[in-house]
Amino acid sequence: MNAVQTSKLTKEFDGLVAVNGIDLEINQGELFSLLGPNGAGKTTTIRMLCCLLKPTGGTASILGYDIAKEPFKVKKLIGVSPQDTVLSERLNCWENLALIGKVHGLSSDEVKERSKELLETMGLMERAKDRVRKFSGGMKRRLSIAMALISDPQVLFLDEPTLGLDPQARRTIWEYIAELKGKKTTLLTTHYMEEADFLSDRIGIIDEGRVVALGTSQELKTSLLEMRSMVVSTENLTAEVMEDLRNKYSRLEMVKEKLRISHKDLDFKEIVDYLHSRGVTVYSAALDQPTLEDVFIQITGKRLRD
């Protein structure tokens, strides 16, 4: 049985289609990411799967329970860390965890034991008795994830778990999430391609309410990406040369003052020779690994952060 299964899942708001017939099958224990820009329909999908939004079309089930017909059975199986880090600001860590744990039916002893374990894992034990309003964004995120885990859910939903965090805090949270791989079925939404790339077993790229690509990070990069890219560090690059290159190759862009050229059957030597012949000094040239951003651009024709 799939942990999460959707069939033509659709949500329409007053004529605006936010989620457009999504079909997903997420295996038990899998960490699956929905990657897409803001407004792509990621959060709406998660909100439907968490029984907060009623689908306007299609069906979805969590471990076999239909989200529309058996929402309370579904809610017993899931843990959710929402996009906005919503905590009870005047409660401390223990109290926040106890609230969610006990609402899920855990005994006081179970809550205490599990809270201790989670607070230690999340590195929050030292501040566990402080009211959370004094916490940094990263600490709040970690507590939010701990709250999602307190009931030991079979399916975990993490909606943009590192949104707005600095790189160090983001990396810390990635490590916690990575530890869950294989232990929990996790559906994560993100618009950070590095996050999806680093964490996910499989990725669904979502745009304008549709899943436009699905697979492992490597599958997406290799099977969907026909183009190869190279990055060249140059001097004396004229507009005329640029125009020539633009006419000859599929995509040309400046990335951190370096020229990035992408094309099917890209010939590394041919480009370097051409640049030399036009008097351009080439300091360095290297083949570039494709990224999920490249995949996204190829499929949708736009950048992930547009």
């Binding site: 907060l52 919503v86 009870s88 409660l91 609230l99 006990k102």
Partner: protein, 359 residues
């Protein structure tokens, strides 16, 4: 017991929020101080008095004329000759009270015997008796040339009342004060909705009634404490509870529950804390037509019907009656009304909350 956990969380959110707690518990003190002070220092306009002259003598006519010349009194026409007529008008609400000059008034005056007058009034307006008694005593002593105490018998229970104005206003002020729970309860729910906390809680297996009970429970201690403060400050400032204090407390508790129930409904309907503030648009007019601040005797009947359908006027009437000495049996219908409203409001709250749990 999911509701208990939600309730514990909400209670902590309230008592750890000094501004909200100060508002909730400081309000009763401020309210009673202001209103009792106002009632104690108020200057009344002339009181319209009806008279029953059973003696129909020269002396009684002269006495009536003398009373009419007193600035604080305005005589109603006609002068009744039979008490039954006056009693009927009193029962129908046409007059608020009457002074009975009994037959034998002139004879007693001439024989220099004790003169007895009776002042009859509606139980719902006990302050009238105590306001008028000293005036009539003074006027009578002056007219008849006898030294006080001049015997004016009051038909009522308010003889123990220290300050009639406080006894009249206080019950209404308590009810109005408890109506604040409507907006406070609504704002807490709406605030949690706005911040997304409710959405997070909706992903747990808690049911609608867990939320309604969980959000109502913390207000129970607030309700009890604030009612005790209202009564305590009121009593310190001259409120005399002639009837059963427990009955009065029960009425205030029930109307407090109704206010919390309305707060739950408003909280279920609005989307933000600022929208919850809109509840004041309803609170103030309802308080006005429910007699919390002044008598509704002269209010148009249509408005009185509207007020009568709501719980607040029943709480005001019943608490005023109990505080001024009425028995439990006199308020039993009002109590049924309040209990009925509380049940209906919480049931509606649960239904509405269920709807908001899934968009």
């Amino acid at each position: 017991m999911k509701f208990w956990e939600i309730g514990k969380r909400n209670l902590k959110e309230i008592y750890r929020n000094p501004v909200l707690l100060g508002f909730l518990l400081g309000m009763p003190v401020a309210f009673m101080l202001v209103f009792c002070a106002a009632a104690g220092g108020g200057q009344a306009s002339p009181i319209a008095m009806s008279i029953v002259d059973e003696d129909r003598s020269q002396t009684s006519s002269a006495f009536i004329q003398y009373i009419g010349s007193v600035d604080a009194i305005e005589l109603n026409e006609p002068i009744y000759s039979e008490e039954s007529q006056a009693q009927e008008d009193l029962d129908e609400g046409k007059i608020s009270f009457y002074l009975l000059i009994p037959s034998g008034f002139q004879a007693a005056q001439q024989a220099q015997q004790t003169i007895n007058l009776e002042l009859a009034y509606k139980g719902a307006a006990p302050m009238i008796g105590l306001q008028l008694k000293p005036i009539i005593e003074a006027v009578g002593s002056e007219f008849l040339g006898v030294a006080p105490p001049f015997n004016v018998e009051l038909k009522g229970t308010e003889s123990k009342i220290k300050n009639p104005a406080v006894n009249f206003y206080a019950p209404g002020i308590v009810v109005f004060g408890l109506m604040i729970l409507i907006s406070t309860a609504a704002e807490i729910i709406a605030g949690d909705r706005e911040k997304g906390f409710l959405a997070r809680m909706f992903t747990t297996p808690a049911r609608p009634w867990d939320f309604i009970l969980g959000y109502s429970l913390p207000f129970i201690p607030v309700l009890i404490i604030s009612t005790l403060i209202y009564l305590g400050v009121g009593m310190a400032l001259g409120l005399t509870v002639v009837g059963n204090l427990g009955h009065a407390f029960l009425i205030f508790f029930l109307i407090g529950l109704c206010a919390i129930g309305i707060g739950m409904i408003v909280g279920s309907l609005v989307k933000s804390e600022s929208q919850a503030g809109v509840s004041w648009i309803f609170i103030v007019p309802i308080a006005m037509i429910s007699g919390t601040m002044f008598t509704v005797e002269y209010m148009p009947s249509a408005l009185r019907s509207v007020a009568g359908a709501l719980p607040f006027i029943h709480a005001v009437d019943a608490s005023r009656a109990v505080i001024n000495g009425s028995s439990f049996s006199a308020i039993i219908l009002d109590l049924y009304w309040l209990i009925g409203w509380a049940v209906v409001l919480f049931a509606v709250g649960i239904v509405l909350f269920r709807r908001t749990m899934v968009s």
